[in-house]
Symmetry: C3
Subunit: 284 residues, 3 copies
């Protein structure tokens, strides 16, 4: 059975780029099945591209081919690559940080640079296009891989996994009554902020549902949020309009405002520069 293809980009559906990409896929092999991951990654945001891959990948069947095109460096010497993860998925992407979370949290077994002499669309008069590789390189090469026209080895030459471009991630640190990490990603629709601290580790530090916990969120050295707030299972335990700590759908620690937006109320961003510290006074 041919591999599924899941696409994510920062193109939106406002113009014809997604449609052209999907046409290329169907022209490679009519039987390929395409699903939208999202086309609303924030523009040029390779951190979000990286996180969104990580967030949903494990729920898909093995061998699914993810095509991720958030490519601020198109036209520069950044590599166009296909990675194979340790748990058996493929990612077709510019090597520009979009593989950060998969590499650190799942593992990448092998990565190959796309050989454009073979795996680039020809015959449509677009051979010299320098500013858009989603259609002619990433979709085309991904479709050939998903279809079985080429093997992973035929993508192009492999290069060391160590050379994959990565964003920095401040790993969670846990000690008794303390935990720290980063604001990893927003849930922009519901206005929540997700940290990279697993619930399990958080609880091992001694935090329990019902606790009031001191939270300090910083953007680099600047304190953006500094409050004692409730940790509980779901939003309804907090008063309306009040911030709280809960655990999200990936079983990580997260912030919400009950019936409001934590993101907007407190102006919280995300990424390596956004650190968070939790601490609890010990009953003495």
């Amino acid at each position: 059975m041919k591999s599924l293809m899941v696409f994510q980009t920062d193109f939106t559906y406002k113009e014809g780029a997604v449609c052209a990409m999907y046409g290329v896929v169907k022209s490679v092999d009519r039987e390929l099945e395409i699903l939208d991951g999202t086309h609303e990654i924030p523009q040029y945001d390779t951190w979000s591209a990286s996180y969104r891959l990580y967030q949903s990948m494990k729920f898909w069947p093995k061998d699914t081919v993810f095509v991720s095109v958030v490519d601020p460096g198109v036209g520069t010497p950044r590599k166009a690559s296909v990675a194979r993860t340790s748990d058996g998925y493929y990612v077709v992407t510019p090597d520009n940080g979009s593989l950060t979370h998969l590499k650190k949290l799942v593992g990448i077994d092998e990565i190959r640079e796309i050989d454009e002499s073979i795996n680039r669309l020809k015959g449509k008069g677009t051979e010299d296009v320098a500013i858009f590789h989603g259609r002619d390189v990433f979709a085309y090469c991904g479709a050939r891989l998903a279809s079985g026209i080429i093997s992973f080895e035929e993508v192009g030459p492999s290069y060391p996994v160590d050379e994959i471009i990565e964003h920095e991630i401040h790993k969670p640190e846990i000690s008794m009554n303390r935990a720290s990490g980063i604001i990893e990603i927003p849930d922009p629709n519901f206005g929540n902020s997700w940290t990279n601290i697993p619930l399990k580790e958080f609880k091992s530090a001694g935090f329990e549902y019902g606790d009031m916990i001191d939270v300090v969120i910083k953007n680099k050295d600047q304190i953006v949020f500094d409050k004692r707030i409730l940790f509980h299972q779901s939003f309804g335990f907090a008063q309306k309009g009040q911030p709280m700590i809960y655990n999200n759908e990936l079983m990580n620690i997260a912030f919400a405002v009950n019936q409001g937006s934590f993101l907007e109320t407190y102006g919280i961003g995300y990424g390596s520069d956004w650190t968070v510290e939790f601490s609890k006074e010990t009953a003495k």
Copy 2:
């Protein structure tokens, strides 16, 4: 042949929730076909969820499985259910008002509460997620039903159709030269407002294309719109910028502004609290 799956949520495509849900479906059964209803239901708006199901369902093949996840009460004791409509469709949804229009206007033959001991995703480390059931409960259970892995009876225990949570709907009332009902839903893209009064009943009250009709729209007791306007077949009959009455694509009475937005011009909302009255002076 396996049932089609149609999804509607208030998640948007801004983050990875839809992608994760669809991955779950494809992991249950690679052959299942997924179509987007919409992921832009207004947030937490179970009334709109209810209306959108009703609006499009009858155009689909019988046995189609609709998965509707607008779920402000996730984490509270609201039921996670699958309903079977009188005309042969399935709806997987929180029982929170999202079935209102189908129950009142189409009929629901049977409803069953999802048995999470069987029909909840396992093995991905998300067994304790309390704030998001779209992926682990609704998509998973819906996929099993659409695939034929479980029968409708195997969803879980049935409960009385009378217990289904419903929003109130003020039914249309018709008499000679008078009609009343509610503003049922907006067409946000084109700026129109749709009532729940069928054209056929409206005409039976004596209203005819070309008539000037008195319209009063209230939000609870407050009058929001009070004008005499034209009733006609399409927008072009009204002057540019003028409000008018027409019949919409479901053959119900609706309001538009020719080349403008009725919604924005007059600040019109929707739901049980938005009533509308039509009357016509009789020629004497």
Copy 3:
């Protein structure tokens, strides 16, 4: 093998119209495969509808059926039609300018008016709907064609290709050190403006990467942009925030602001009224 169906509309996913259309397709033939072109064409903008068809069509397999519903004249005598392009695709669309680019730049071999006595949805109580043909006429007829239930000849009577409604397009004019054309379309997501001047012709006028070129953009007679700017292969060659000329993914000349929005910075529109002139001082 049945034809693929690609849809583009100005409906958005905010309400149930797309879902109802797709239901109609699947009710005609469960095996038909539907792909989103886009549902975010600017409202009533038949020029953009025309351009988006042209932009992506050639990347799809032959015989693909495109359904394009941007239909400001619904309810008026505009024709509902199916065109066959010279390169072997079908377009189901109101004949209202949406075929402009395909006719001028690709060629249309034949066009037929949809016979609604045969190719309109019946039995759903929507026979008299006058304000929305996407579902009952365009999707329904397109599905019958894609499925092979009807041949192209059975769509309805053909009429002269010359009668197809077209927008005016100012063709590119090229002479030594000069080129002129129109601002054909925006790339709204990345803030770029695309002209209708092919790179190949542009270069034949003597313009080369690295040149500083005088650009005048007019909206009708009013000058909106008048600057000497760089022409180069990709954005990085311009200084941050500076406007530049590059060639886009269709190998046409285009404008960008490096890490900014050309559209917003200079207030640039598109269409027949937006002309552009390039000229270069000759070294003497």
